[in-house]
Symmetry: C2
Subunit: 741 residues, 2 copies
């Protein structure tokens, strides 16, 4: 039994032996994953452990597999791409007087793992008494270098009064557990995706069998003498000794395979673990200086928002011209696919906290434009139709009503382009990729939208963010985002102006889609969440039940399209119908709750988003962290309590604190400057290392470099939460682990 | 090369060797299939022939197979049922001086097959010169007995100046060709579905491996001496001789396996082929006396409507308490499933032409009520939700937007119940099954429909007959049929009265579904039919393009719901948007075209329906005949030019002939009487063997038993066809085989 220890500001500590039975083993593997966006090492224990899911994820290294449908349809993707477990260099077996070090045997006196968010390292300390009675002390350290994209390193130290033998492996196609079959959200696990190509005693070359992607993994051990054996699938370095063995292990991965891998590995081995760790800390010091969020009054949130930012950074930092998957490189969930939340959540947060990796991430989309154009043609549309889920660019969604039909992904990409450009002024990016992305996505809308005979334009039969209400007409989020897309591209301005924004007269609320408010109400006495596991889509799709923020998301990203009164009425109406069966929901509801003065509710939603993986219990995040929810913690704090808005390229703030927070300070990047916004219960202070013009509570102001701009805050009365069928847990209860309210 | 010879009134003749390359082999196997609703022998050549699809179909003998989805969903069927090829007793191999009789070798001097629609037999005559130069004359005859449900019989006669050897088989799990993978409409072909259970020299017992359904097939040969060998999968009777071999072969099938099979076979063998053939003719004489349709002026239609009626009879006659599949027992298309068109088309025709098999067919539905109730619960609904496609009762549809969402199948079943009861007065059926079917289907509508706050009731997010416009609100066919269903069951009359019947004000037409007429128009310059093979559903579902009659069907089955002017405007509007990518479309368009005075157009649609399989060319019907289109030929003639309507339990006629027909006479059963309606260009004459009250042109009249009731007809002017994106071929051109207009 293990648990995540009480919150520490910069550390995530697990105490006890992670148990596969309660999901803590898988969950811990995700929480303690290390990655740099290019290479990811899942937080597997060094020794092979039944029930865990080994993961060495190399961004965009995938295998293909066929998709079969009971009833085929034109344009249904015929194959998909699935992330594979790359050559595993984390695996280290230990034998003590010939007995295997296995936590399921003997006695574990102490087992602790610590993820250091400033150091960027994972440390593990174990004190174990073998079945034979030998006391063993083990300490391992790990990092995946933010500075050297191809490199990971381990330090391993074991002490025991016994004969010790360590087998340190680099292994291809290790055995994987079978996937669950009872949940539509689980992913494929491909056995033996690689065929060996070449090997020697310090590197393995292999290739995925069908997608034919080559990878080379190189390994070096220093600090102890060992012997090496190798087969096409395994390099094993074996060291023996009495009393103590300590060594460092260096890994480098290149794909497609090239010779540079040796130089990278050798440089790392030569410089040593301590040097790599020092570089790592320097890199992270820089990151935190420009991105940290300080939260006084809620240690859990303080820890969680940093944990979230750290994992968002790990997902994106060195992704370069590759996608940022929904699970980052922490697990094989969603088959390793990238979905719309990369642009709508992850890049939103990275734009302000680590903008350097946002341009490449959007250029990756641009690099797949050819496929997106082809897909648009296949769908009978113009411009580009980006995939709902993919690794390399092709549409990999096997259920089109909640995949291909969610055309809003195209407007989300355009929105991310606009945001990135506004926040950085990166004109070169716009020339190389941004303008074309805007134009091609806008063209899509010109072909999918149409005018009725009253001159109103519509987008019919698409699916918005809410996957419980599919194939409706005039989804408000889609229409508002398409409108912005068209305007930004300067294409068919009349179409943009005429797009229907459905509004229910009598009820005086906007409609998530045309006719939504006239659909039958859901019977919320049913509490069997997620509803999709016990209710047919035929039942869900035409009821007033909302899986996740949709119209509420629209009110966050298009605040200009709603009056404050409308927002208030809309929020109350949809709050009563939203069940948050998606982790993408809570952060957005937090933002709007904060804006509308439901401050404790906002705090609770913030907690739901921020603590989901870290303290979610069960198997939440077992197949990889919810990276968008990690980004969502930042969104909830900065856009919620900081009131940051960025519509139309303008930066604005409207800070307000919930009753239980004393102070919130956040750093962000804006057009080359590093700003800090400090919110207390009675004031907000803006500082920056460069001049920045922005709006404070609607008024244009400027903070000058090195100066301080301070405003008093009127204490807002906390408005009670509107009725919800599934109120969030109180954040205090999360923290105390007392379960549901 | 083979072709169907010019039309003969009672015969369907194929001349030439059917070629697998042009689809004629498969098509001929369907056209010449013999069946009685219980046992079906596909029209395979006796000798094994590469490229054909062997078929011995035993109603409801199916195997199960798993359905896999790229993305699973709650309530998606986990397995399906697939018709299997049962033990084949048609296979007879011939050797001439040791050379195999194979039409692909040697020289075929003559090859002719004749289906005799009055005799109920298939005769084949071949004159073949072997590669060795021997002239061989072969004649085979076949029947599947309408009188003895389990029995089929063959007579085989070969003459040649040579040593002859005949191997006559009963074979289980013969080799089958692979299915095509490029068309979503193709079916699974299960290899080796059976495991042997027992065998001796005159019967084989086997069992499907997974569904565990047992079958016993018994065989006997008479008329020649032979030797028999048997294995678990094959009984082979071998006869040799010089100059001539003639024998008769008798087959009997029982499933589940029982001992009665031997008695059935022995009785058939004792009575002999000629006796079986005489019984067959008597049975068919009775059938035709009460069901024949005479068409003067169009020999192709004359032949085709009898061909269609014959196959409808073959599909239903002895089906008993089993489903009538969409392909009857003529092929494995749609996996052998029964869909809504059984009730909406096939039972409609059978109700008036052979009512004795309609009650059992509906009792079969009643027998599956438990499963339908369970399915309704699974969908969150009350009452019964019958499957979109099934053999044994469970939902087997793997694409729910055009399957489970088509809830109208439930109202179609209710409609068939009402029609059958009105036409027969079978009150016992109503007590045993009918009333419960009406009540349970009506309950479904009470749970799926809901009231808006203006007091209008809606059924949202369902799919009507038109599969190119899925998951819309208030599909007019569904709502009108649900309304009738509710009223007939006497359940929630207010709901029935309040159901929305969508109407487009300005355009002054009814809407197929709410908002349909405001959807974008389809670009009909594309002629690549069927559209579903080259257009994504995302593109199709929200355009004004209609796969098949939907609103037009509603105007046929609910004539009371529309004024004549509305029908006229609606017909023109939807005619311009309907592409007839379903064979279910043309017969209904024929009916409405006739009613509205587009008489030549009606004739053309009649031809499209009637000639589809018989003269469709290509591979139309290769995997089984379109039994609903066979029924549709009758519908087009009798409901179109005869003007038969039966809404509300009243029989009515409004006869009119198209310019090219001189006379139409049709027989039908009504409440125990056998009526005949004879329409000429200037009069209609009603006769009956019992008193029948009905409406003629809206006026209530009565024909007394043995008397003649005659009315003059006003010659109607043929109105020009409204514009259509895909006008039907002219019937004259079908007949002349000159291809598209």
């Amino acid at each position: 039994m293990s648990e995540i220890a009480p919150a520490e500001p910069w550390l995530v500590r697990e105490v006890g032996t992670p148990d596969e039975q309660d999901g803590a083993l898988l969950q811990g593997e995700s929480i303690f994953a290390l990655a740099n966006g290019h290479v990811g090492l899942r937080g597997n224990l060094e020794e092979p452990h039944l029930g865990g899911m080994p993961g060495t994820f190399l961004n965009s290294l995938f295998e293909e597999r066929d998709l079969h449908y009971p009833e085929e349809g034109y344009g249904f993707p015929e194959r998909t791409q699935t992330v594979v477990n790359g050559p595993n260099g984390k695996r280290i077996s230990l034998f003590v007087d010939g007995e295997r070090f296995d936590l399921r045997t003997g006695e574990v006196r102490r087992h602790e793992r610590v993820l250091d968010l400033r150091a960027g390292t994972l440390t593990r300390e174990v004190e174990w008494v073998s079945p034979g009675g030998v006391v063993v002390s083990l300490r391992t350290e790990r990092l995946v270098s933010f500075v050297r994209p191809s490199v990971a390193a381990l330090r391993y130290s074991v002490r025991a009064e016994a004969e010790l033998r360590v087998e340190s492996d680099l292994v291809v196609d290790e055995e994987l557990p079978s996937p669950r079959e009872d949940d539509p959200r689980t992913s494929a696990v491909l056995p033996d995706p690689f065929e060996p190509v070449a090997h020697d005693d310090d590197k393995l070359v292999c290739r995925t069998r069908r997608s034919e992607l080559s990878v080379v993994a190189a390994v070096a051990h220093t600090g102890a003498e060992g012997t090496v054996s190798s087969t096409p699938e395994l390099i094993r370095w074996t060291a023996t000794g009495r009393g103590e063995i300590t060594f460092e292990k260096f890994l480098s991965y290149h794909w497609p395979a090239d010779d540079q891998v040796v130089a990278d590995r050798d440089a790392a081995a030569r410089d040593g673990f301590d040097t790599l760790a020092a570089e790592q800390r320097d890199y992270l010091d820089d990151f935190w200086a420009g991105a940290d969020v300080e939260v006084d009054g809620d240690p859990d949130i303080q820890q969680a928002v940093r944990f979230g930012l750290f994992h968002v950074l790990q997902a994106g930092a060195q992704a370069g011209l590759h996608p940022i998957p929904a699970k980052g490189l922490t697990g094989n969930g969603y088959d390793g696919h990238t979905l719309w939340d990369t642009e709508a959540y992850v890049l939103r947060t990275l734009t302000y906290t680590h903008p350097g990796c946002v341009g490449p991430a959007l250029k990756w989309r641009h690099n797949t434009l050819g496929r997106a154009r082809d897909r648009a043609r296949e769908l009978g549309l113009d411009g580009a139709a980006f995939p709902w889920r993919t690794i390399g660019g092709p549409e990999c969604s096997g259920y089109w009503p909640a995949g291909t039909a969610a055309l809003h992904v195209n407007a989300d990409i355009a929105d991310a382009v606009l945001r990135y450009h506004a926040a950085t002024g990166d004109d070169e990016f716009m020339r190389e990729a941004g303008h074309e992305l805007l134009a091609e996505t806008a063209k899509l809308w010109t072909s999918v939208a149409y005018f009725d005979d009253r001159g109103v334009a519509h987008i019919a039969g698409v699916t918005g963010p809410d996957e419980y209400t599919a194939l409706m007409d005039d989804n408000i989020y889609t229409n508002l985002m398409a409108q912005q897309n068209l305007r930004a591209a300067g294409i068919e301005p009349r179409l943009a102006d005429c797009l229907s924004i459905p509004y229910a007269e009598g009820r005086e609320v906007h409609e998530q889609a045309a006719g939504f408010t006239r659909l039958p109400e859901w019977d919320f006495t049913d509490h069997d969440y997620p509803l999709m596991l016990s209710h047919h889509y035929l039942n869900l799709y035409r009821k007033q039940v909302v899986k996740q923020a949709d119209l509420v998301l629209a009110m966050m990203v298009r605040p200009d399209a709603f009056t404050l009164d409308e927002k208030r009425r809309n929020f109350a109406y949809y709050e009563a119908r939203t069940v948050r069966d998606s982790s993408l929901s809570a952060p957005i509801q937090a933002v709007l709750a904060a804006e509308l003065g439901h401050l404790r509710l906002a705090h609770d939603y913030l907690a739901e988003a921020a603590l989901l993986d870290l303290r979610g219990g069960g198997e939440s995040g077992g197949d990889g962290l919810h990276i968008a929810a990690c980004a969502g913690a930042w969104i909830a704090l900065v856009m919620g309590f900081g009131g940051l808005r960025d519509h139309g390229g303008e930066l604005s703030f409207g800070p307000r604190l919930p009753p239980d927070l004393k102070r919130l300070a956040f750093h962000l990047h804006w057009r080359g400057a590093s700003m800090c916004v400090t919110v207390t219960r009675d004031s907000v202070t803006y500082t920056s290392d460069g001049d920045v013009t922005f709006r404070h509570e609607g008024r244009e102001v400027e903070v000058r470099a090195g100066e301080e701009l301070k405003f008093a805050i009127d204490q807002l009365e906390d408005l009670p939460a509107p009725p919800s069928p599934r109120p969030p847990r109180r954040h205090a209860i999360w923290a105390e682990g007392q379960g549901e309210q």
